[in-house]
């Protein structure tokens, strides 16, 4: 009887352990699905260099130059996430050669932090000739300076 009970407990322990492993795998898959950002050939990353943190919750917008009308067409408005990024800016299909503008609402961002900023907004205008490439246009920002570069 004791031997039977010992075997039963071992099988039950193994069963419980297997269920724990299954639960971990399921949770990992769910996290992977939830955290997969929509693909965009154009990305940005805003960093608050004044505080050494990602610039979260900054409103940004993407525009495409309309050459015939000499105006800008708004393509997308969004806000940076906790990591300072804004996934899904534009789809591969919509990303065509042209002149784009990315506008960052920097004044509002610093105001939300209880501070002023020398730059009420930052607009980065850039030319895309080869839309098959990936383009990363980050903004490194403090209250009195900023920089950007073309990454990939």
């Amino acid at each position: 009887m004791y031997r039977f009970w010992k075997q039963f407990c071992t099988v039950k322990q193994m069963s419980i352990r297997l269920q724990h492993i299954k639960d971990h795998i399921l949770a990992a898959n769910q996290c992977a699905e939830m955290s997969s950002p929509p693909y965009s050939p154009l990305t940005t990353h805003v960093l608050n260099t004044g505080r050494g943190i990602p610039a979260a919750s900054m409103v940004i917008s993407l525009h495409l130059r309309n050459h015939t009308a000499a105006s800008w067409t708004l393509l997308r408005t969004g806000a940076t996430n906790d990591d300072g990024r804004c996934p899904g800016l534009i789809t591969r299909e919509a990303f065509v050669p042209g002149v784009y503008k990315m506008r960052f609402e920097t004044g509002r961002y610093w105001e939300a932090l209880g501070e002023t900023c020398f730059y009420p907004y930052v607009e980065i205008v850039f030319t895309i000739t080869d839309a098959a490439q990936k383009f990363h246009v980050p903004l490194l920002l403090s209250r009195f300076s900023y920089s950007t570069y073309r990454g990939s």
Binding site: Y119, T127, S147, R150
Partner: protein
């Protein structure tokens, strides 16, 4: 760190960081926002000198509190060097609240990057 020339209220200094030289002969312009009309009014035009500097962009009388924009014609500049640039132009928009200060807005530039800061 570059600083403004003595006596000028608003100055700029363009540096070509890719070639390690001043950004000479770059066309630029200064604009002030008319908040009521929501329009940019041209204040002055200029060109950087051999040292990449441009001063006397605005007189004391014209210098009022408000929102300004410095526009740099970067595509023309790189084309004159037979090169292309990721940025067809660069506009730096800034707010002036304290008229007792002098403002120095440099532009450190390559074909694929740029930076700016508020100096004195």
């Amino acid at each position: 760190m570059t600083t403004s020339k003595t006596g000028s209220l608003l100055t700029t200094h363009v540096l070509n960081t890719a070639d390690g030289v001043p950004g000479a002969r770059m066309a630029l312009s200064l604009h002030r926002l008319d908040p009521q009309m929501a329009l940019w009014n041209l204040v002055s035009k200029g060109t950087t000198d051999e040292d990449g500097q441009c001063s006397d962009l605005i007189s004391r009388d014209e210098f009022t509190a408000g929102m300004y924009k410095l526009r740099f014609e970067t595509r023309q500049y790189w084309e004159s060097l037979c090169q292309s640039s990721f940025y067809p132009y660069i506009e730096i928009v800034f707010t002036i609240t304290d008229l007792d200060q002098t403002f120095h807005l440099p532009l450190l530039l390559s074909r694929y990057s740029y930076s700016t800061y508020k100096g004195i």
